[in-house]
């Protein structure tokens, strides 16, 4: 048992931490958000240069050969910076799906393009009423010669507005919630059958509603048997956003404690008041419990047994959801009015944390999964 980073991981952490502290302060972030894409192409090129865009890919695919721990290091730093770029959509979800679901030649074609920064991806999975059930898929895939045609509506597709290619879950067989019959399809975003409506999300990132009307597609792997790969990649993404959440929670806590020590009322720093000290201690406990479960999630995200993996990742998501909500609300409350303003940083962490809680299943959803799965021990 060892929670320390190895030398390579420490190097990675140093360089990502530096990048974020040098290039991603709150004012810079604001500027990136006002750009045409709502994020920074320049930063994207920086990530490519540092090797972050190929972090989880094999070296033969232009990657770094990193595992879940390396992703955790990067995502935690991105959480501190409130990073806007489509890293989750392109590298974790897009790259992950290509690695887990597709054939060798498709990987050799697509992964190097992600690593170099040329190709942006988005995962079009959510449907209007599917909520968090990955197997609830009404979008249809129909064979068309060697390829496929996709028809259906996908919603809240993270960074779906800028992606060059879309990874779409669609049903080639079976009923609405059958696990069998779901395939994963690659659709060119410029296909005439694709209509996109991009928009900002509450936390200042981007998403899109996307309609597919007989859009041309190729299947990644088995056109009726992708659900296992989709679940695995979503588990990896949950581990990644847990780490992002820990980065955000850490910042909220640090900023709050600093604020309590400097903000004066009644002639003294408000941190002199025991009630506020105790509440910031409760925030710390929530943060450390979340950090612990993120480490657990990181290790368990590569667990081969799907049921064990699912239970562990759901447990982690519950902890991150609860800790995040507690820390977010307390951050705003302990600051007072200043935290209600757009111009102050903490409110943006609070909003990001709220979106992370909803992403890939909210706290109640995952609590139900854990409680139906039997003991965690």
């Amino acid at each position: 048992m060892d929670f320390d980073l190895n030398d390579d991981q420490r190097l990675l952490k140093d360089s990502v931490d530096h990048l974020i502290s040098d290039r991603y302060d709150f004012e810079q972030r604001k500027k990136y958000a006002q750009g045409p894409d709502g994020w920074s192409r320049e930063m994207w090129a920086q990530y490519a240069e540092l090797g972050l865009l190929g972090l989880p890919f094999a070296e033969e695919h232009g990657g770094f050969g990193g595992g879940a721990e390396e992703t955790m290091i990067v995502m935690e730093a991105f959480g501190r910076g409130l990073v806007l770029e489509p890293y989750l959509a392109t590298v974790i979800l897009g790259g992950g799906l290509i690695r887990r679901a597709s054939s060798g030649p498709q990987q050799a074609d697509l992964l190097p393009q992600i690593a170099s920064g040329e190709l942006l991806l988005a995962f079009a999975q959510q449907e209007r009423s599917s909520r968090f059930n990955l197997a609830d898929v009404q979008t249809r895939a129909v064979a068309d010669g060697a390829g496929w045609r996709i028809t259906g509506e996908k919603g809240v597709v993270l960074h779906g507005d800028v992606a060059g290619k879309l990874l779409v879950t669609a049903r080639s067989a079976g009923g609405r919630t059958d696990r069998a019959g779901i395939g994963l399809f690659l659709v060119d975003a410029t296909d005439p059958g694709v209509t996109r409506r991009g928009y900002p999300t509450q936390d200042g990132l981007r998403a899109a509603e996307i309609s597919f009307n007989n859009a041309a597609a190729v299947a990644l792997g088995d056109p009726a048997g992708a659900i296992g790969a989709v679940e695995q990649v979503v588990h990896e993404a949950i581990a990644a956003i847990c780490a992002e959440g820990v980065g955000a929670m850490q910042c909220m806590h640090d900023i709050t404690v600093d604020y309590l020590k400097t903000r004066k009322q009644f002639g003294r720093p408000i941190g002199d008041f025991q009630v506020l000290q105790h509440r910031s201690v409760d925030m710390l406990v929530a943060l450390e419990q979340a950090r612990s479960m993120t480490m657990f999630a990181t290790v368990m995200s590569s667990e081969p047994d799907a049921a064990t993996r699912a239970r562990a990742l759901s447990a982690a998501k519950v902890q991150i959801g609860k800790s995040g909500r507690h820390i977010g609300q307390e951050t705003v409350q302990l600051h007072g009015g200043i935290a209600m303003t757009m111009e102050y940083k903490v409110g943006h962490y609070f909003k990001r944390m709220t979106m992370l809680e909803m992403l890939f299943g909210d706290t109640d959803h995952h609590l139900k999964l854990v409680s139906d799965a039997g003991s965690l021990f």
Partner: protein
């Protein structure tokens, strides 16, 4: 980062697990797991079995019977002990007095006290809290006056756990009234049979009497019963209280509790359905399990971090373990009551030689008393509010 354990560590875990489950009497372990009180003889027997194996005082210096274990080995020892329902070696002897004597006592004290404490030949109790000195322990007023070659002790201690079994007591006494309150305290040893020592049991809300008041009325003890230096007792007390580290979370114990709750929830019927089939109950149970899993990981992080810390300095993170660990233990007692349902209501105190059968299922009688009793865990050993203060000061720098 590696959450796995080495083959040697796992072999150690298996060794202690096997020992606990084969050498400690099953009747004793079952009582612990079911939440019943142990007799003095059962506690003594269990500690002597551990001591014979060299495991009663692994935390002591090696020359006095300690083990040169790694933090991970200590973790497994405690976790397996708690999961198996083995009563821990008596804390007053092994984690409180023993380390203080080994560190600050005279050679004579070490020779005379330590082996007997390890084997539970002497049962020690702790004379710290007073009616007017709880969280503000340094405000204590029990007085020891030097008279020739003796100390004369006058005053009152309270919350003295298991004093009814005790042969001896270590007492924090005020020996200098003029100094700052922390600087006038001495650490003195006393026989419970000394003339002038009286004990009165305190009946707690669960109906039990595990704690006591102890009165000192002109009790005379030899001067050499002083531990370390005069007026340095507060330092020794802090050392003693800081010695309780990761075990304070009682993760292994809560794991055993949850396992039992799950079992009973499979037996106990609501109509024709076992309680475990109720999705709301299952979600409550899952909520505690998730918190416990997170706490287990936090505890392992504290354990792993011990190698980076100065030896003997308590990690303020252990205050977090205590906060969370006590909440979880208390929640477990609530869940157990919920499983049992209306049959928590009959009041059936434990009795020797009970003739009539228990009312309700045999696991029902302890459920409510355990809930009442466990409110103590967020009060003793530094209340959770004090733990908040410690973290605020030591970690957050307020």
């Amino acid at each position: 980062m590696d959450l796995g354990f080495t083959a040697e560590e796992l072999a150690f875990r298996d060794e202690v697990r096997h020992f606990f489950r084969t050498q400690i009497p099953e009747s004793t372990r079952r009582k612990v797991l079911e939440g019943q009180h142990l007799s003095k003889d059962e506690i003594v027997e269990s500690q002597r079995i551990l001591n014979a194996r060299g495991w009663a005082v692994p935390n002591w210096p090696v020359e006095w019977g300690g083990q040169p274990w790694s933090p991970v080995q200590f973790y497994f020892f405690q976790d397996e002990m708690q999961q198996a329902g083995v009563p821990g070696p008596l804390a007053f002897n092994t984690s409180m007095l023993g380390p203080v004597i080994a560190q600050f006592g005279s050679e004579k004290q070490k020779r005379e006290i330590l082996p007997r404490a390890a084997n539970l030949d002497d049962w020690w109790c702790q004379g710290f809290s007073e009616p007017g000195a709880g969280s503000d322990l340094a405000g204590l007023r029990t007085k020891a006056e030097r008279v020739g070659d003796t100390w004369v002790i006058n005053g009152q201690k309270t919350w003295t756990t298991l004093a009814q079994h005790a042969d001896k007591i270590f007492v924090l006494c005020r020996t200098d009234n003029t100094a700052k309150k922390q600087e006038g305290i001495s650490f003195i040893l006393c026989d419970m049979t000394a003339p002038g020592v009286t004990r009165r049991p305190i009946v707690t809300i669960d109906g039990g009497a595990e704690v006591n008041e102890v009165f000192f009325d002109n009790v005379v003890v030899p001067y050499e019963n002083l531990v370390g230096q005069e007026n340095k007792g507060w330092d020794y007390a802090k050392f003693l209280l800081g010695n309780e580290r990761t075990g304070i979370a009682r993760v292994g114990y809560s794991k055993a509790k949850i396992k039992r709750i799950r079992e009973l929830a499979g037996l106990e019927l609501d109509g024709t359905e076992p309680v475990i089939n109720d999705p709301k109950f299952r979600e409550k149970l899952a909520t505690v399990e998730i918190e416990l899993k997170a706490l287990e990981m936090t505890q392992l992080r504290v354990v792993a971090n011990e190698k980076n810390r100065a030896k003997g300095k308590p990690d303020p993170a252990s205050s977090m373990l205590k906060l969370k660990g006590s909440e979880i233990q208390q929640t477990c007692t609530e869940l157990l009551m919920q499983v049992v349902g209306p049959y928590i209501m009959p009041y059936q105190p434990e009795e020797e030689g009970r003739n009539e059968p228990l009312i309700g299922p045999d696991y029902a009688a302890v459920a409510a008393p355990m809930y009442f009793n466990y409110r103590k865990v967020s009060i003793y050993g530094g209340s959770n509010e004090i733990q908040h203060n410690i973290i605020a000061k030591a970690i957050l720098g307020f």
